[in-house]
Subunit: 426 residues, 4 copies
Amino acid sequence: MKELKIGVIGSGSTYAPELIDGFIKRREELNVKQVVMMDVDSERLEITGNLARRMVKRAGMDTEIILTTNRREALDGASFVVTQVRVGLMEGRARDEKIPLEFGILGQETTGPGGFAMALRTIPVMLETAREMEELSPEGWMINFTNPSGLITEALSRYSKMQMIGLCNVPITYLMRFAKLYNVSVEHIYMDYFGLNHLTWMRKVYLDGKDITAEVTERILEGDAQDLLGFPFNKSMVRSLGMLPGGYLQYFYHRDRILEKQLTSGNRAEQVMKIDRELLELYSDPDLNEKPAILDQRGGAWYSDAACALISAIANDKKEIHIVNTRNKGALGGLPNDVVVEVPAMVNSAGPHPLVMGELPLGIRGLVQVVKTYEQLTVEAAVHGSREQALLALANHPLVPTVDIAEKLLDRILEENKAFLPQFYH
Amino acid sequence: MKELKIGVIGSGSTYAPELIDGFIKRREELNVKQVVMMDVDSERLEITGNLARRMVKRAGMDTEIILTTNRREALDGASFVVTQVRVGLMEGRARDEKIPLEFGILGQETTGPGGFAMALRTIPVMLETAREMEELSPEGWMINFTNPSGLITEALSRYSKMQMIGLCNVPITYLMRFAKLYNVSVEHIYMDYFGLNHLTWMRKVYLDGKDITAEVTERILEGDAQDLLGFPFNKSMVRSLGMLPGGYLQYFYHRDRILEKQLTSGNRAEQVMKIDRELLELYSDPDLNEKPAILDQRGGAWYSDAACALISAIANDKKEIHIVNTRNKGALGGLPNDVVVEVPAMVNSAGPHPLVMGELPLGIRGLVQVVKTYEQLTVEAAVHGSREQALLALANHPLVPTVDIAEKLLDRILEENKAFLPQFYH
Amino acid sequence: MKELKIGVIGSGSTYAPELIDGFIKRREELNVKQVVMMDVDSERLEITGNLARRMVKRAGMDTEIILTTNRREALDGASFVVTQVRVGLMEGRARDEKIPLEFGILGQETTGPGGFAMALRTIPVMLETAREMEELSPEGWMINFTNPSGLITEALSRYSKMQMIGLCNVPITYLMRFAKLYNVSVEHIYMDYFGLNHLTWMRKVYLDGKDITAEVTERILEGDAQDLLGFPFNKSMVRSLGMLPGGYLQYFYHRDRILEKQLTSGNRAEQVMKIDRELLELYSDPDLNEKPAILDQRGGAWYSDAACALISAIANDKKEIHIVNTRNKGALGGLPNDVVVEVPAMVNSAGPHPLVMGELPLGIRGLVQVVKTYEQLTVEAAVHGSREQALLALANHPLVPTVDIAEKLLDRILEENKAFLPQFYH
Amino acid sequence: MKELKIGVIGSGSTYAPELIDGFIKRREELNVKQVVMMDVDSERLEITGNLARRMVKRAGMDTEIILTTNRREALDGASFVVTQVRVGLMEGRARDEKIPLEFGILGQETTGPGGFAMALRTIPVMLETAREMEELSPEGWMINFTNPSGLITEALSRYSKMQMIGLCNVPITYLMRFAKLYNVSVEHIYMDYFGLNHLTWMRKVYLDGKDITAEVTERILEGDAQDLLGFPFNKSMVRSLGMLPGGYLQYFYHRDRILEKQLTSGNRAEQVMKIDRELLELYSDPDLNEKPAILDQRGGAWYSDAACALISAIANDKKEIHIVNTRNKGALGGLPNDVVVEVPAMVNSAGPHPLVMGELPLGIRGLVQVVKTYEQLTVEAAVHGSREQALLALANHPLVPTVDIAEKLLDRILEENKAFLPQFYH
C-alpha cells in the first residue's frame, strides 16, 4: 500500500479531529504515513494537533502528526491536501451574515451576498495555495472543503492547473438520511443528484437499484420523513418539480421564511462561535483521545467520511461513484463545458470522471444558469479585484432584488472587508 | 409588383389606422390589393374600418377594405397576416396589472405575472389562428404584434409550422431616438442589439458605421440624452455592463422604484382605456381621413413603420437587416437552438436569417437564461393547461420572490381569468 | 435474488453455448430461472438447445431451457433479451464481403459497404423485435450483439423506446490482452477508451491505477507485444496519435494492405462457415455437456463474459464501469447528443450512464464524425427504404473512393439483397 | 468620402490590374488616395505597377501608385491590405501538383496534398504579415486572396488578432453564371451557400426572391446549363443531396475522373505559367492603359469585383450580404465555434457578421467535418513545424487513401519544400 502524506490546511478547525478519525477508521485501506497539520493560529493548532496525536496513539498507529504554521511545509510532496480555511475567521462570517440583513436580504455563509463576501476574501488565498501546490506537490490532489466550496472550485479550476476536487457534505448527508430511513447501510442507496454546490436536486433515489423516488417523496411531503430534507418545502413545488430539492434551496425558494426567522433570532455565526469555544475546551482535555460523540450532532457530520472515502477512491483506484464538484465538460447540458458543477463522478486514480446527466430539467434550468453566471462573475471580481464584475455578480444574484441595492451592498461589503481585499484596494 | 392581400386580426384596435397609413406611405413598393380587417367587436371594427376606407380614398388608392368578424375570411389566401389581438380586452389587462400588486410585485402588461396571465389567455387563441393559417394561407407570413410578443412567438414557433415573425416596436423606437439625437434619418443608425423580447440590450450603436457607443452612453448617463432610454438606469450598472439596457429592463433592475410608483399612481390600463375611448370618438368623425397627429404621442409610435418595412423586405426580397423575434438556431450562444430570440436578421423573400451574435455576455447571461426558462415553462403551461408547469414558470420568474407567493399568485390568476382559460378547466 | 427470464434471439448460433456457460459461471449472482432460446432455424436450434440443456444439467442447475421458433415467446416478460441474429445467414455475409471487392474496396462484415449491406437487411428485423419488446417486455433490457452493432444500436435508439445496450467484444478482448501481458486478472486494468463501435481508440491504459500507456505503446510498437492490437499499425501514426487504435482501424488506416490480402486469400465468411459446420457437428455429440475448449480460439472469445457481466451489473445494481454502445448525451464532444457512441459507462439498475470523455481529439475527430454521418444516413436509408439516403451513406463512407462507384455499388447491393430488402422494393 | 490607402501584397501578380480596374470602376464610392503595390520581385512589379499607373492616368484619377519591395511600407497605415502572395512561386505550385501524382493522388493547387504543401509554405509568411499589420495598421482590414484561402484564414484567425476576411472568387463566379443564365444583373440572384473554402454547396438559388433551385438543378442536370457548375457531377448524387455542389467538389466526389485526366494531360501549373508569361509581355506594352479583355477569360474572373465590393461594403458601411471566410461562431452547426467557414455574412463597417445557416445537412456533414479537421491539423503543423500534426493532417485527408502513403507523401513534401519550411528544419 502506497505511503501517503496528507497536508491539512486550516487544521485549527474543530473539524480536524473528524478527519483524523476518518484516517483511523480507514487504516486498512489508507497507509497515512504523515499528517502535516497547518494553521495560521498556533494556539488552536496546538489544541487540535495534540488531540490528533492522542487519537492516533490510542489507535496504535504510527502516523506522524506534524504541526506547522508554514503552509509550504504542509504542501511539500503531499499526496493529498485537505483545505478548510476561513479567511476572516468567524468574525468575518458574522459580518457576512449581518450585512445583507441591513438591506432586507437573508444572511448566509455560502449563499447570496454572504457567500459572495466570503468568496472575495477567500479566493485569493486559495489561489495562492494552489500555486504553491503546482510547485511543491504537482502530483498531489487538493480536496477542498473551504467554503463557499462551489465558488472556490470554480476559481481554482479556472485559474490553476493543479489537480483538485471540491467536496461538500450535503450529498453524503442525504445518502445517510435515506439509508437511515430504510434501515440499510449507505451503500444500498444511490441518488441521481446534480446541480451546483449548495444548489442541488435529487432527481431519483434508489434503494438497491429500485426507484423509490415517488415513495420517498410522499414520505417526505406527507408522511414519516418530513424532516429529511431539512426544510418543509412548498409541497406543490416539490410535486411540480418531480425532484427533491436539496436543503440549501430553502434560501432561494423560501427566502421570506428565512429572512423572517433571521430578523427575529440570533446570528448563526454567533451560535457556531459558542460551540466552537466549547469544543476547543473539550479538545484540550489531555484525557480525551477519541473524537467526541458530540461532534456528530452538528452540521459537518460525515464530513470526514466523504473526504476519506474520496481520498481512498483515488489512492486505491476504486472506480467508485462520488458526488463531487468538478469541471462540467458536457455532464450537465445547458451550462458551459468549462464551469464547475456538482455531479456524480466515477473516481479512480486519474481523478473524477463525471457521469453524463443530460440537459438540465426545464423546471430548474434558469435558476442553475443564473447562479452559475453569478459565480463566474464573482470569480472574475475576486481574482481581478474588479468592482464592475463585482457589481454585475451581485446584481445578477436572485436574492438581490435591485441594482441599486446591489450597489450599496457592494460598497458595504468592500468597506467592511477592506483588510482582506487587497485586490480591490491597490 | 405582386398584388398583396393583407389580413389584420384585431382590426378594432386603435392602432389599425397606423397600419393603413403605413401602406399608404409605402404605396410605391407595396401593391396592397386588399386589406381584410377582422375583429370580434363589430362596433369598434365599424369605426376603425370606415376611417381606413376614408384614408385610402383620400390617398387615391384602390385598395379594397373588407370588414369581417370571421377570422377565416381574413386569413384565406393572405400574403401577410398582421395580428394584434387582446384576449380579455383592456379589462383583462387591468386585472393583469392589479393582481401582482396584491403580492407586492409590480404589475406590467407583458413582463412578470401580468405578462404570464396574458400569455395563458392569448396563446391558445393565437395557436388556433396559426392552425387556420396552415390551412388557409400556408404560403403567407404572420407578422405578430400580439403581446406578450416573445411568449406568443415562442409558442407559435414551437407548436405551429406556419411562417411567422414576432415584431416589437422597441428596436425601431431606439433607432428613431438615436437618429433624432444625431439629427439624421434612421438609415444612418445601426445597433448591435439582442436578447429576448422586452429584455434587450444595445451592445453597440453606430452612426454611419462609426462606433458611437461610448459617446452616446455618456450623453445618456451624464449629458443631454438622459431621457433616451426611457428610464434613468443605475449608472454604475450601465457602465459595468458596457451596454445600454432596453427600457423594459427597468422592471428587472429597478423593480422597487416601479413598484413604489405603481402603488401610489393609477393603473396604466385605466389610462390607456381612457385614451382608447377618446381615440375611437375621434376616429368616428366622418371628416377625418388621415391618421390623427395625436397618435404619434403614445407608446406604439412607429409601430406601423416596423411592420410595413418588414412586409416590404419580404415582399420585395430586400435583404435588409431588421430586428425581429425568430428561432435562435445558434445566433445567441448560451440559449438552446430552438427557442425564440430577438436579434438582427437579414430579411429577404425567404424570411428572417438571424445574424450570429456570439455568446451572451456574462453580465446578462443568467438573466436572459432564466427569463427564457420562464417563457418555455409558460408556453408549456398555456398549451397543455398544466398547473405544474404554470407553478414552475412563476416560481422561476425573477420578479416572483418566493415559491409560496408563486403558488398563491397562480391560484388568483387562474381564478380571475377562468373564463379565458378553458385549457385549465376541463 | 430476483428470478430472471432470459430470451436469446438467434440461439441457433454456435455462440449460444458460450452464453449458457456464462450463466453457469455466474450462478452465484444471477438467478436465471428460464432461458428461452429462439431461432428461425429449428434444426440448428435443436443442436445448440440440447447442448445447453446438457450443460445446465451437468452444472446441477434447475434453469429451464425452452426452445422456440416464435420470437414473441422469447420476448414475453423477459428480464433480458440477448440478440445475435444474422439476417441473410452466412451466405449473406459471404456476399457482403465479395461485392465490394468487385469495385476495388475491401470486403468486411461490419465495416464499409459490407457492413452497410448487412445493416440494410438487419435493421428492419431488429426494429420489429424492438417493437415487440415494447409490447411484451417493456421493463426488459435488450443486450444487442447483432452486427453491425453500432448501426443497429443507432437505429434502435432512434426509432424505438425500448431499453437497450449495444455490446461488442472488442473492449473486453483488449482488457484481457493487457491483463495477460501484465499477468494480472482483468479487474486490474482500466482503459480510457472511446469512439464508435468498431472505430475506437485507447487513450490511456492503467494498471492498478498507474498510467502505463507510454510503456505499453512501446511494447506494442517495438517490443514483446507486437501482436496485441491485432494488426501492425504504422508506427509513426500511433506515435502521432498518442493513442492506441483498436484493431478495426486497420480497415481505415491500412485499407490497401487489407485489400491486397483479400484479393489473394480466401473469403473470411467461407472460413467461418467451415468452422461453423464443424462446431455444430461437435455440439451434436450427446456426451458433450460443457462448452468445448476450442471455442476460446475464435473471434468471439469472452463474448459471453461481456454479456453476462453487463446483465449482472444491471440485475444487481453494481455501479460498475462497462464499455458499451449507448446515447452520447454529451459524453463525446464533437458529435450530436442523440447519436450512439461506444464509451465507458457506469452501469446500474437504471442502465448505462456514460462517463464524460471530453472533446474528440483532433487527430481522430474528422474520421469519427464522417463515419457517424455515414451511420446516420445508413439508418435513415434502412428504415425508410430510401435510395437517396443510401447513396449519400455510401458516398460519405471513407472507404468508398468516388460517387460513381458508390452508385454502382449501391445498385449491386440492392439487387443482390433484394429478397431481404422489402423496404426498398415496395 | 474617407480617403483610403490600399496595400497590395503580391502586386507582381498578373491579377493586379484587375484590382486597379475595380478601383477605377468604383471611383464614385471608393476614394482611393494611394495604392502601395508591393512584391518581392521588382521586375514583375515594374511591369504591373507601370500598367497600373497608365490605367489610373487614363481614368483621370489622381490615385497615387507607389511601388515597393518593402512589405512594411505597404502595410503602414493601410485602410485595407489585399494579399495575393505565392510562396515558392509557380515552380512551387508545379511541384505541389506533381508530387501527389507519384502516389496515385490527384494534384491540385488548393485541395488535397497540393494545398497542404502550399499551406505549409505560406502560413508562416502570412502570419508574419499579420503581425506587421497588428503593429502598423491595427485599424486596417486584410482581404486575403492568398491560396489555400481557407487554410490561410484559419491560421490567421487563430494566431493573429488582426481584422481579416478571406475571400474567394467561387461564390461570385456562380452568382455571375446564374445571372447570365437568367439574363439579369447579379443583384437579382441570391444563394443560400455554405461550407468551407473550396468545399461549398448551394442549398438554394433565388431569382428576385423566387426559389429557382429545382428548376436550375434540372437545367444543370438535363438541360441547357450543363456547364454551369464547371463539372458534370453524378446526377443521382446531386439529386440525393438536394443541393448544388460547388465545382471544387469534383476533387472529392470524382477524384478518379480527375486523376485519369491529370495522368494523361499536362500540368495545370505549366499552362498557367505560359499564360502568365504572355500576360506580362502584354502588360509591358507602354500603349496599354486598360485591363486587357483577355483577362476575363481565365480563372480569376470577377476577382477584383469581389474584393472591391467587399472593401466598399466595409468602407461605406453598406450592410450588404457577401459570402466570405470568417469565424463560425455558431453559423454552421456541427463545427466548432472558433473555426473558419465560408458563409453569407452581413458586412458593414464593423466587418462581417455571418448569417445563421443551421445544422450542416447530414448528406455533407461528415465531409465538411473531416476536411475541417484536416485544416486545423495542417494549421497546427504549419505554425509549430510539427511532423506529428502534419502526418495526422495528411492521414485524415479524404484524398489520401492510407496512413502509409500519408507518411511517404509527407516525407517527399517536406524534402522538396525544404527551402521554404524553416519551421520544420530548425
